[in-house]
């Protein structure tokens, strides 16, 4: 019998095309997702060298980062450079014959939402994209990570990537979550514990009862932020929840192929006794709804806590905390629930799926957002938007005073028109609270969709459990 393997080992081994003496491997890539910002130079490189896309049928492109989320964008994007990047993707997709979802297609949306939704992302696959949040697709038990532009070109031309293997890390969430605690709180709590470099050099496998109990959408939220914990990728072993989600999707296998696929997918789990280089365990019961107070995703606290003081930290973090408090305009000792919010953003590849919108709508239903609040809901794809409209969720948001937008990355990053103004303070369901991420001098507090909804109603950070 061969040595026990982790899930990561199994997927890796199934994709090695060749291996050099120093352990450098050529790894086969099953799915290559492409968006407009990190791909133009890669396509230009192909043109200059007269190369083709090796497997256009395994390559999927969608514009998301630069596109406005307001009506009329099919015919007009104000920002010249954004427009050129989107037009370049239109042309590259056509010229190289790759699968494409332009803004005019109802299936357009954030690349990491579109891939799973269309059944492009399947268990046991290798998935790459010129975008760090490719980690999202790990929720299916697929090895998925972000790459640079030269690597995008490399994958386009060869359908492979030159890689060395990472280490194995296990993050186990035991037991059950308490009411009001979501996948977003899990993933933030893990980063709060391990730090933004805790996963460096590793691929994380998330496991344990609380992870098993999550829906596919919740699992995507967890894996999405593996990158914020420094990991190369996050993984969750596929199970019935996964298979039920995948079954019947446009590009999922059908008939006999489905059966064959299922047989293999069921072997994709970590064997008993397999070795992990690092193990972290958190009790699900101990996780509370959390928020970030600073400018790093590791600056996480339970909503019941107070703003920390620099002296609460050690080493280089003391200076970093000082700078973060100054940037965020917060005072040590201030209750987190006393922090006033003027903007709420519900969306992004972390929390822009239908269940996220349902969770937020549940809190908002029949109520109004605080006077003067700017609140927006940006569905992760045109199909999520459509479904929310069918279910009546869109109307709940609109009646409460939210803006109901078209799909895209929107205010997750300040690259399209949806941005924070100077010193505006946002409760955001996205994944990065870096300085300037949502707009120059904008202030971001990362939260779950339900917590964002609660803040929109009260005008300050709020413990959602008080509204349930």
């Amino acid at each position: 019998m061969s040595a026990p393997k982790t899930l990561y080992d199994k997927i890796w081994d199934a994709h090695v095309v060749s291996e050099d003496a120093d352990g450098t491997c050529l790894l086969y890539i099953d799915r290559h997702l492409v968006h407009e910002v990190t791909s133009p130079q890669a396509f230009e490189g192909l043109r200059l060298t007269g190369r083709k896309v090796r497997c256009p049928e395994k390559t999927i492109a969608v514009p998301d980062h630069n596109v406005p989320t307001t009506e009329g964008r099919e015919t007009h994007i104000d920002n010249e450079e954004s427009r050129i990047q989107v037009e370049a993707l239109d042309k590259n997709a056509k010229d190289f014959g790759i699968n494409y979802y332009p803004v005019t297609d109802i299936r357009q949306g954030i690349v990491h939402i579109v891939g799973p939704e269309q059944g492009w992302t399947l268990p046991g696959m290798t998935v790459v994209c010129g975008d760090s949040h490719t980690a999202t697709h790990g929720a299916f038990g697929a090895l998925a990570h972000g790459i640079g532009t030269s690597e995008v070109e490399h994958v386009l031309a060869t359908q492979t990537l030159i890689q060395k293997k990472s280490k194995n890390m296990k993050v186990e969430i035991t037991g059950k979550l308490k009411p009001g605690v979501t996948a977003k709180d899990i993933t933030l709590a893990v980063i709060g514990l391990t730090g933004t470099a805790g996963g460096t050099g590793h691929v994380i496998e998330y496991c344990g009862e609380a992870i098993r109990a999550l829906s596919m959408e919740g699992r995507m939220t967890v894996c999405n932020m593996a990158i914020e914990g420094g990991a190369r990728a996050g993984l969750i072993a596929p199970d019935e929840t996964t298979f039920d989600y995948v079954r019947g999707r446009a590009h999922a296998p059908k008939g006999a192929q489905w059966e064959a696929a299922l047989n293999w997918w069921k072997t994709l789990f970590t064997d008993d006794g397999a070795h992990f280089d690092k193990v972290v365990t958190i009790r699900g019961e101990d996780i509370e709804p959390v928020v970030t107070w600073g400018t790093s995703p590791e600056d996480v606290l339970p909503i019941s806590a107070v703003v920390p003081a620099p002296e609460d930290f050690t080493g280089g973090k003391v200076e970093a905390a000082k700078r973060a408090l100054d940037y965020m305009g917060l005072t040590p000792g201030q209750k987190l629930t006393d922090i006033a919010i003027d903007t709420v953003f519900i969306g992004s590849c972390t929390n822009g799926r239908i269940e996220d919108l349902r969770a937020a709508a549940e809190i908002v239903k029949g109520k109004k957002i605080k006077d003067g609040m700017r609140a927006m809901v940006v569905p992760g794809s045109g199909l999520v938007r459509h479904q929310a409209e069918e279910e009546g969720i869109a109307q709940i948001f609109i009646d409460a005073g939210f803006e109901w937008r078209l799909a895209g990355c929107s205010m997750c990053l300040a690259m399209n028109p949806d941005q924070l103004g100077e010193y505006e303070r946002c409760a955001s369901t996205s994944n990065r609270n870096f300085e300037g991420r949502q707009g120059y001098k904008g202030r971001t507090h990362l939260v779950s969709p339900a917590m964002a909804a609660a803040a929109a109603l009260t005008g300050h950070l709020t413990d959602v459990r008080e509204m349930m």
């Binding site: 095309v17 060749s18 099953d30 910002v37 130079q41 640079g148 296998p253 293999w264 690259m415």
Partner: protein, 201 residues
């Protein structure tokens, strides 16, 4: 990728330490769709004022260094973000060789991927080259990759180390893609096998 064998050209002195990728190419230029054309924006904030006028004191704006192909730089060149726009901008400006006591890791690797040769030398030798570069346009130095030698304008020879695999790639103009394509039959075999075992992919 173009082959890199030997460069004889003007070296510009940039003794500043920790020249980061933001200095090399500010983030305002990341919305481009090209690798090329970034050369005019290389070192943008040091090179131009807010109105876009050239800063006459910046080394690459001085008449004798406008056509520099070699940079002799301070410690830790290329630190900061991983943006490949930084080596793109330098290559587009016409830089072929950068000499320093140390480079940031990602920048170092990205340079090779874009046909540039970063050379690490001890402080004393960097100082010597810096002094040679200060002499201006008449001080042409020669960088010979095959021989792993730099010859200064007055004939002084300095040996340097380079990863043999990376040297091979530069000398033969092989990029990663070119190399991987040498293994195309292995990729093809993998695809044939996987069409049997995982036909749904």
């Amino acid at each position: 990728m173009e082959k890199f064998t030997k460069v004889t050209g003007i070296a510009a002195p940039m003794p500043l330490v920790n020249i980061d990728t933001d200095m090399i190419i500010p983030k305002g230029f990341l919305k481009t769709i090209k690798r090329t054309g970034l050369g005019v924006h290389a070192f943008d904030e040091m090179r131009y004022d807010r109105q876009g006028n050239e800063n006459p004191d910046f080394v690459l704006n001085k008449p004798q260094y406008r056509k520099a192909e070699i940079l002799v730089a301070g410690d830790n060149f290329g630190c900061g973000s991983s943006r490949e726009h930084a080596p793109w901008a330098l290559a587009d400006f016409g830089i072929k060789v950068i000499v320093s006591t140390s480079f940031a890791d990602i920048f170092f690797n990205n340079s090779f991927k874009n046909g540039m040769l970063p050379i690490v030398l001890p402080q004393a030798e960097v100082d010597l080259l810096m002094a040679d570069a200060e002499k201006g346009a008449n001080a042409r130095m020669t960088v010979d990759l095959e021989a792993q030698e730099i010859t200064t304008s007055d004939g002084h020879v300095i040996k340097f180390e380079v990863d043999q695999f990376k040297k091979h790639c530069l000398l033969n103009g092989l990029d990663d893609i070119g190399l991987t394509l040498e293994k195309v039959s292995a990729i093809h075999d993998f695809e044939t096998k996987s069409a049997q075992s995982r036909p749904w992919v």
